[in-house]
Symmetry: C2
Subunit: 121 residues, 2 copies
Amino acid sequence: MTTPTLHSLEPDFAKSGGLIPAVAQDAETGEILMLAYMNRESYLKTLATGEVHYWSRSRQELWHKGDSSGHTQKVKSLYLDCDLDAVVVKIEQVGGVACHTGRRSCFFHKLAKSGQFEILD
Amino acid sequence: MTTPTLHSLEPDFAKSGGLIPAVAQDAETGEILMLAYMNRESYLKTLATGEVHYWSRSRQELWHKGDSSGHTQKVKSLYLDCDLDAVVVKIEQVGGVACHTGRRSCFFHKLAKSGQFEILD
C-alpha cells in the first residue's frame, strides 16, 4: 500500500459569489439529510471544530448547525467535487434530526407517479 | 395502509435567481455522484423524460446529462427539501460514470487528517 499524494485545496468560493452548496449525508446510512451553504468562514470553522457550520442565507450569519436545537452534525469525512465548488460532508447527526420540521431529513417531499408530491414522515 | 395525501408542489426557482442545486445520488448504493443546477426548464424536462437535465452555468444552456458521453442518468425517485429550494434525484447512472474526469463520482477529493486532500480513483 502506497502513501497517497496529498494536495492543498480549498473550495472555489469566488465562483458563486462567496457561497457553495454543502450536502450533509448520514455517514452510516448514506441518507442525504440536508443541503445548505458555506462561505469560507463557515468552511474553515467546520474543519477547525469537526462540527458542521453553514452560512445562513436568510439570517446572513454564521450558523453553527444545532446551536439552538442541540442537533449538531459531527464531521466523519469531507469531500470536494471536481470543480471545487460543492462539498459533501458525511456526518453523524446528533439527535437523529437534521430538519427544522423535526424530521430526520429535509428531503421529505417525494415525487409520486401523478406528478404530485407525497410528504414522508 | 392508507393512501397518502398528495400535494402539487414546484421548486422555488425564484429564490436563488432561477437556479436550484440538484444532487444526483446512486439509487442502489446511496453514493453521491454529482451536484449541478436546474432551472425550471431543466426540472420539467427531467420530469417529462425520466432522464436528468441540468442547466449548465458555464455554457448557459439546457444540459441533458450524458448527451455527448452517453452517461445519462435515469430517474428512480425525486425529492424536494423542506424549503423547496433543493432537489435530490436518485438515479441509475448509465455507464457507471458521472464525472467528466471519468470517475464514478465527482466528489473524489477527500479531506485527509493533515488538512490536505487525497485524490480518490
